[in-house]
Symmetry: C2
């Protein structure tokens, strides 16, 4: 079912290169529709939100009922089973503890010339968190997006979530409560993104918008980028498992299917030096698929995008893995630490037989918002840094300016910027 | 000429809010043209580059002469006056020293449950640097973009620069040499961005593209974002000078004009509690404008976008400054350190009377690529971090998995993701 490549084949490089460029997403051209929605929200504010919510979510909301009240959140929390709530709390606490280590330090120092330099890190003042409605409405994603913002020191954390037909997942509200979200509005789609970026009568604008969404949400985020900051545009999820011969094929198959069940466009790849293991994993995938509630989704993903890559030697695996630049990389082998120093492009690495990627989805403590579609070559998972920004500082004494000024004047003149040169020269009586 | 606002006026808030939303850029709609250019480069490679270069830069280039040779760079460097070269070297060394402090540390630790977590920082493998042609072809910008990439550890640093009518600024080549740029191609516009993102026969693709450019370059960067990483989309430059009464109005005026001479859409603002200083600065601007080579540009910027904002008390300045979120903030007062802790949104702060912003443009050591158009509310100046990415790591022992597994299973089941739950359960014999 899944494609099979073997690095001993003469055409391997060509087939691998083609595999790397496989498009897994049909990009819907929704940009014109989104442009109109954004303009409408900018012009009509709450009234536009009310109209779009009626039209797209089939739900009658008014400006007064856009906000989800504290009582509604209380009621949702009361509905959540105790075991689920305590699992969410464990996840929240672990995410918080890990992300606290990411907080950058401000820096200030004086160099040999007496110039003072530095960087001051501060939090974004207000952040918006988009949460999808329906089946992709995951409480774990609420924690993964909101907790780093809180750790960064964001003062105002605003969540928007569509409620198709008025229905909302109580787990999402419980996660929002646990993560310290301040405001929640029952609005979704491009209209929600526009409201967060430009504000309406009811929703004050934010400076940064994060969180996953459908094609409309992604297009809206691209459009408002610049007015506000945005996180990455996430694509379908993917995993690459590098496995040696000594593995339980059922474990590997289970990990491949956990990824595949997300989406028919998800991608699961196993790379191994053991043809025997490859065959066993392939058979295990088929066996397990038959019993999976989301078997149809997972099966389509495995059939269309799954891959088994045989390598002559595991030492050849990491260079190929770095070209794939997977969102999730599992090192399922006896000595995974030997490969770790060669990891260059990956969103997250899961080390050893006892670290299924799913642990990272929920309770590991690291973030599950990770770069997809080979973007780990140039970007990172969501972190505290995404909710902070750096202001650089510079301070010259009169002496330091005398040291540096002439070179600045020389360069300004070389660039034909006389007013630049004069702003220094005037202070040096030149 | 410039607008004048006074925070004691009844309509101040309304006028200030309107001032904040002033658009300074006419956004050209070049997206369709850019889309076609990118497609053409993807399809025809070098041949498309050759055609567009002939058409837009009026210059006959072939696939063989796209690259600027080492000999050409040698010749350019030989043309640069010694004083300019040594000023560039000073700038390079200071930028390098400051940016070296920005390199993040990888982190690995074991928590109380025995779970190992961490972050591994690695450099982007290849970066592309866009350098504009013509009058905006600044050697200082080459250093500011290339040096942080080198400090980050980027192995391959590729510069593209258009050569309209075959002309190229030797200073730009000298700066590239000093900054350690490996490859230089004489191509610009959307076609150069496409070549960097997708590659051609001659130009291998990169993972990240940085550097300023015109509307076509900006639109192309937006379009290829996702395939490669990009830096921010820079707008016209701006400065806010907060000044108390004890200032030399000529110095302040010179700083305002240094910003204004960049572009008719640049913005210079002075905020002060002294009406007397405000008047004196305004008069000094007019006097200096008369003698400036770029007086026409600077005059238009000051007339159309310049502002004098009077505040009753300097304590009221910082909250307003944070709403403006200026690219450059000068604190020109007797006790600037007293205001510094209240800076929240600014690209860079220049402290005290002897730190004109121009020092930061060239030789301060901090980066001059900074967030414009209020984007300092959510983004930072260019840094080493822009050329690095973080891979998170997670490692569970069998015991740690036994501790964490049940909560992961609970959450996976609550989200309806059974294959997720099974990937953990299978390892715990559940």
């Amino acid at each position: 079912m899944a494609i099979r490549l073997d690095d001993r084949d003469a055409d391997f490089e060509a087939r691998f290169a083609a595999f790397l460029t496989t498009k897994r997403e049909v990009s819907e051209d929704v940009d014109q529709a989104v442009r109109a929605i954004i303009e409408d929200v900018r012009t009509r504010g709450d009234a536009a939100l009310v109209d779009y919510t009626r039209r797209f979510d089939r739900f009658d909301v008014t400006a007064d009922t856009l906000a989800i009240t504290k009582a509604e959140v209380d009621a949702a929390v009361a509905e959540v089973p105790a075991a689920t709530l305590s699992a969410l709390e464990l996840a929240r606490d672990r995410i918080e503890a890990h992300h606290a280590r990411q907080k950058p330090d401000s820096d200030r120092y004086r160099d040999a010339l007496g110039v003072e330099l530095g960087s001051i890190w501060t939090a974004v003042e207000a952040a918006g968190l988009y949460v999808p409605g329906g089946t992709a409405s995951y409480p774990s994603s609420v924690l993964m997006n909101a907790v780093p913002a809180r750790v960064a020191g964001v003062e105002r954390l605003v969540m928007v979530v569509p409620t198709p037909d008025g229905k909302l997942n109580p787990l999402v509200l419980a996660a929002a409560r646990l993560a310290g979200v301040d405001e929640i509005y029952r609005v979704g789609g491009a209209q929600a993104v526009a409201a967060l970026a430009y504000g309406t009568e009811t929703i004050r604008p934010v400076a940064k918008i994060v969180g996953p969404g459908n094609a409309y949400v992604a297009a809206a985020k691209r459009r408002v980028f610049g007015t506000v900051g945005i996180d990455m545009i996430a694509g379908p999820s993917e995993v690459l498992v590098i496995a040696d011969h000594d593995n339980n094929p059922d474990w590997i198959a289970a990990d491949l299917l956990a990824q595949a069940e997300h989406d028919t466009a998800a991608q699961s790849i196993v790379m191994t030096d053991s043809a025997e293991l490859a065959d066993a994993v392939e058979a295990a995938v088929e066996r397990q698929l038959a019993r999976l509630p989301r078997g149809e989704v997972a099966g389509a993903s495995w059939r269309d995008y799954g891959a088994i890559i045989l390598v002559e030697d595991l030492a050849r695996a990491m260079p190929l893995a770095n070209r794939i630049a997977p969102e999730h990389l599992e090192l399922a082998m006896t000595d995974p630490e030997a490969l770790l120093p060669f990891v260059r492009n990956a969103g997250a690495v899961f080390i050893g037989h006892h670290t299924p990627e799913v642990i990272g989805d929920y309770v590991g403590g690291s973030n599950h918002v990770l770069p997809t579609a080979r973007s780990a070559r140039f970007s990172s998972g969501l972190s505290v840094l995404d909710f902070m920004k750096r202001t650089s500082i510079l301070k010259c004494s009169p002496e330091a300016l005398r040291h540096l000024g002439p070179a600045a004047i020389t360069l300004a003149e070389a660039e034909g910027l006389d007013a630049h040169a004069r702003s220094v020269a005037i202070r040096l009586n030149l």
